[in-house]
């Protein structure tokens, strides 16, 4: 049987293509399913976790207690409820609180709200913050999450602002209808530092 040059060169190209794709396939499949056996232990590590833990200290706060002047309560509530601070589908109920406190007190109150131990927290941050709690319906789909971000709307949001500059420092929410426990009297033991 006589094979024309064109057919022959076509065949050669196809064989080369096949070989190349097989090569790619082999290379990709070479990645192990289980990596544990391929792990290099300790001596080649780039970081020293013990050293990091030993050296690391809570970050120094450049805005420690200043004694004011603080943003006014009206000013901080205006900022928290401004249209640009709300999500597209957020709705305010009109139920709102704004309380001036230190970061340390905030964390103790937050622990109390969450039903966690309060008195043993090692807190010494006396930065002043405005804590604003807004009631209503707040969409949560914008959160970051390693899984679903399809969280149902929250019934309240708690926003933390630098008391002097009004810069937003963080926010939180939770499963209860309103964070009453946050505003209760702190346990006596936590009145002192820690």
């Amino acid at each position: 049987m006589k094979i024309s040059r064109k057919v022959l060169s076509g065949l050669v190209i196809l064989v080369i293509m096949g070989a190349l794709s097989a090569g790619v396939l082999i290379a990709l499949n070479a990645h192990p399913q289980k990596a544990v056996g391929d792990i290099t232990v300790v001596s080649e590590l780039k970081h020293d976790p013990a050293e990091i833990a030993a050296k690391a200290t809570p970050p120094a706060n450049p805005r420690m207690a200043t004694g004011g002047p603080y943003m006014s309560k009206e000013g901080i509530l205006d900022k928290a409820t401004a249209a640009k601070a709300l999500g597209k589908n957020d709705k305010l109920s009109g139920h709102e609180e704004a309380v001036l406190m230190t970061e340390g007190e905030f964390r103790r109150r937050q622990a109390m709200l969450m039903g966690r131990p309060v008195k043993n927290l090692e807190l010494d941050d006396d930065k002043e913050i405005w804590v604003v709690v807004l009631g209503g319906e707040f969409e949560q789909t914008w959160r970051s999450s390693p899984g679903d971000s399809n969280f149902p709307p929250a019934k309240w949001e708690m926003l933390k602002y630098d008391a002097k500059t009004g810069e937003l420092l963080g926010m939180s929410t939770g499963p209860v209808d309103w964070p009453d426990a946050f505003f209760k009297e702190l346990p006596q033991a936590s009145a002192s530092k820690n």
Partner: protein, 225 residues
Amino acid sequence: MRKIVLLVLILVMIATVQVGTAFASYHAAGYVNASDSFGGGYVEWAQLWYPDPGSLSGNHNNHTLWFWTDGTNGYSYPNLAFVGVGYWHGYLKGEDWNGFYWERMTKDNWWDIGKVTSVAPGSNGTNHSFEVVPDYVSGYQGYYGYIDSTQVFQFQQAWPSKKMQVGLESSRNDQALGHTYPSYMEYKSSGNWLRWSYGAIRKESNSPYSWAWRNNVYYLGDDWR
């Protein structure tokens, strides 16, 4: 002549199948499989300043190391609880935040997010390290978070941790981000810090070159579990 045509057809089919299989076969690169609980996670990546996602429209991007907590290992509440450290650009309650942040969600659905002001991302493309370590916090189970060796959080939150992930998210469906993978990863297992030492770090399950638009977030992630 018929035989030749048949042979050509068969070769074409083989080549097509092989190429197709090659592009669909992404295995475990970037996938650290540890059978026990994690005692820590450490990641380095070159932080890109992703384009402004339109923070005034409520959008943001984030690039994050997440560390599952409370013994959870799922993707939906109530089997999803975590702490995380990473980079955030865009909407955060009326402000345009372009910097590092921390986040946590507990098993009982308490959620917190905070700006990190003690460490800055620096210039575009600068390498940074992110670490989460379970340890006692004032005598209770908890987690410590570090960025560039600076502690950025400490929380009392239950052990164990069964899964970690590094992921990119964008809340804009028209803005997939660049494909950025951790340049280096370690995890702690059975008391030892172990290094992921195999080649390029890529997504474990789906095609690493595909983003998923899911639940209003454009999402790309690498799991270690």
